[in-house]
């Protein structure tokens, strides 16, 4: 009996491994892409597969931090994290230099997004798309012109304002309102921002994440902080909605494509990165997700309604006043502490 059972088990395991190993194809024909969710045009992957003959294994992550834990154990060929995470990956030596001979379309990448703080010599990363944080508001309800953050402290709109449930974004925008850097570690500046947020506390309906769009479309709230891509989607849904960036600058974020050290198909990965910067593809991605196009030729192909929207594509001087969020353990802990105090205050 014991023999039969163990034989049976061994047989079962054998069958399993046979079935499953059958799905494994040659790694040099596969490109494994790890991207944020809903951050690519609908059939872009299919077009890439058709054009290059590679097979794409496409996965999505909910946040940069989720991605960071996953890549520790699982090999991917292309990652598309945000600026501060690229910075961390480079610092921790988890990504490898790119061979730009395989990425000729790099020439289309807008100079504004080249040589960022996280990769000053452009060795490890190629920008993908970019976004800003700004105010989404309903122009039918908010009669004043919205051009800085002070509108969100106006008690005329008490109970109709949403802030982001995201430490760095909400804090950064408040610091910007006060004229400080979004990455400050100066205690007096941080204290000032904290009291500013405490003053605002009774006016706001809540600190929320993705519900902002729903609630402003439904009219439950009149304005809220959102990322530009999400604002674009909301504006497409209801035409009285507008998106504004504070005149004295905002937070902007660039997501970039990198190749991890553990990648099994570097050439395939570079071919994928190159494909993402084909002007038509870059335009398709930006048109469908509403996130900013980093490709100069792609930008020209976008519909006028998107390309000429000053919220989604602000003038260069506003961008120059804006900053990217930088992050390390010390900054994070400092901000988190004050954030918890604000959350606890009622």
């Amino acid at each position: 009996m014991r023999k039969i059972v163990s034989l049976l088990l061994a047989f079962m395991l054998l069958i399993c491994t046979l079935i499953f190993s059958g799905c494994n194809t040659d790694p040099s024909k596969v490109v494994r892409v790890f991207n944020a969710s809903e951050y690519i045009g609908e059939d872009v992957i299919k077009q890439f597969e058709k054009e290059t003959g590679y097979k794409v294994v496409y996965s999505e992550f909910a946040s940069n931090e989720d991605m960071y834990t996953k890549i520790k154990t699982t090999p991917y060929d292309v990652l598309i994290p945000s600026d501060y995470m690229v910075d961390r990956l480079i610092r921790e030596d988890l990504v490898q230099p790119l061979d730009f001979n395989n990425i000729p379309n790099y020439k289309y990448v807008d100079e504004t997004f080249k040589s960022p703080y996280y990769d000053p010599d452009n060795t490890y990363s190629v920008p993908y798309m970019w976004s800003t944080v700004g105010i989404l508001y309903d122009s039918a309800k908010v009669t004043e012109e919205v051009n800085d953050m002070s509108i969100m402290w106006n008690d005329k709109y008490k109970g109709k304002i949403f802030m982001l449930d995201s430490v760095r974004d909400t804090f950064g925008m408040t610091l910007k309102k006060l004229g400080y850097s979004v990455n400050t570690t100066d205690d007096t500046e941080l204290d000032e921002a904290k009291s500013e947020l405490l003053v605002q506390r009774p006016l706001i309906l809540g600190y929320v994440t993705d519900e902002v769009k729903d609630k402003i479309i439904s009219g439950e709230g009149y304005m809220g902080l959102v990322y530009s891509g999400e604002a674009g989607k909301a504006m497409a849904e209801k035409d009285t909605l507008r998106y504004a960036i504070p005149e004295n600058g905002t937070i902007y974020c660039v997501d970039a494509m990198v190749i991890p050290k553990k990648a099994q198909n570097k050439t395939g990965a570079e071919s994928f990165i190159n494909f993402m910067h084909k002007p038509e593809i870059a335009a398709q991605n930006s048109e469908e997700t509403y996130y900013g196009c980093t490709n100069t030729e792609g930008l020209k192909l976008l519909p006028d309604a998107i390309k000429n929207n000053k919220g989604l594509y602000p003038d260069v001087d506003i961008l120059e006043k804006s900053e990217m969020l930088k992050s390390d353990d010390k900054i994070n802990q400092k901000y988190l502490e004050i954030w918890n105090q604000i959350m606890a205050a009622n």
Binding site: C16, F20, F34, A62, E211
Partner: protein, 256 residues
């Protein structure tokens, strides 16, 4: 009093089913956002065209079917073995089996992830099935053992006396007797596997997402209403299955 009883019953039922009813209503909403606009079947059509959701559904069902069948086989055999052990041996083995049940999912998940990493097993559908088996087997054992205790050992001995080999006697006598427990174990393993998020999240590999992982990843930017449509369909299928089973058992008891 009678009316109060009924009212109470309906209130509790409403409390249990209200979330599902809301979800089903919103699956017919034309807008992508949580604002009611128009009645439409749009999301049902999009659901079947959405390759991501379809492949996640396929992964979920595939893993659930394979993992639940394999763990039922292994678990049943284990339960038969445990049942015929000496007392101290049995209690040691039972404690070892209970541990994964009591262990928080997140610990099991991370432990399995590390194991696969050290064993150099590429994560994917294989590791997903293996880890689902790891947490399903104890439940199968736990649902089969009580049936074995109830079973009369003398019928098995009678089969041996009549010339059956132990294997044949187990197959022809013991297994049919404990079948209800085996089926319960199978169904439990199946539902646990479909439900699981935490362990799957840590043990899956590139390109292999199940439904719960897909929903989690999309939650930050707003989950597509196609998911509502899918949940509504799954709810309807389970409802119909339950009604059929109930009607059949009702007929069977009437006949008897």
């Amino acid at each position: 009093m009678k009316k109060l009883q009924k009212l109470y019953l309906y209130l509790i039922l409403l409390f249990l089913y209200a979330p599902i009813i809301i979800l089903i209503i919103y699956s017919f909403n034309e807008s992508k956002y949580r604002v009611w606009t128009n009645f439409s079947f749009k999301w049902y059509i999009e659901l079947f065209q959405d390759t991501q959701i379809m492949s996640a559904l396929y992964n979920t069902l595939f893993v659930a079917v394979v993992a639940s069948i394999l763990s039922t086989i292994i678990g049943t055999i284990a339960a038969i073995g445990i049942n015929s052990m000496k007392k101290w041996q049995r209690s040691t083995i039972m404690n070892v089996t209970m541990l994964p049940v009591l262990n928080p999912d997140i610990v099991t998940g991370i432990a399995l992830m590390l194991l696969f990493y050290i064993a150099k097993l590429p994560t994917g559908i294989v590791t997903l099935v293996l880890s689902h088996m790891a947490f399903c087997i104890p439940y199968v054992i736990l649902s089969v053992l009580p049936k074995l205790k109830q079973a009369d050992n003398r019928t098995y001995e009678a089969a041996l006396d009549l010339g059956a080999t132990p294997a044949l006697a187990t197959w022809k006598v013991t297994i049919p007797e404990i079948m209800p427990g085996v089926i319960t174990g199978l169904l439990m393993a199946f539902t646990l596997s479909i439900d699981d998020f935490i362990i799957s999240y840590f043990t899956t590999g590139p390109g292999v997402d199940n439904l719960s992982i897909l929903i989690y990843n999309a939650a930050k930017k707003g989950v597509s209403p196609s998911i509502n449509a899918l949940s509504a369909l799954m709810f309807a299928v389970i409802m119909i299955l339950l009604i059929i089973i109930n009607v059949r058992t009702h007929k069977a008891t009437k006949k008897a």
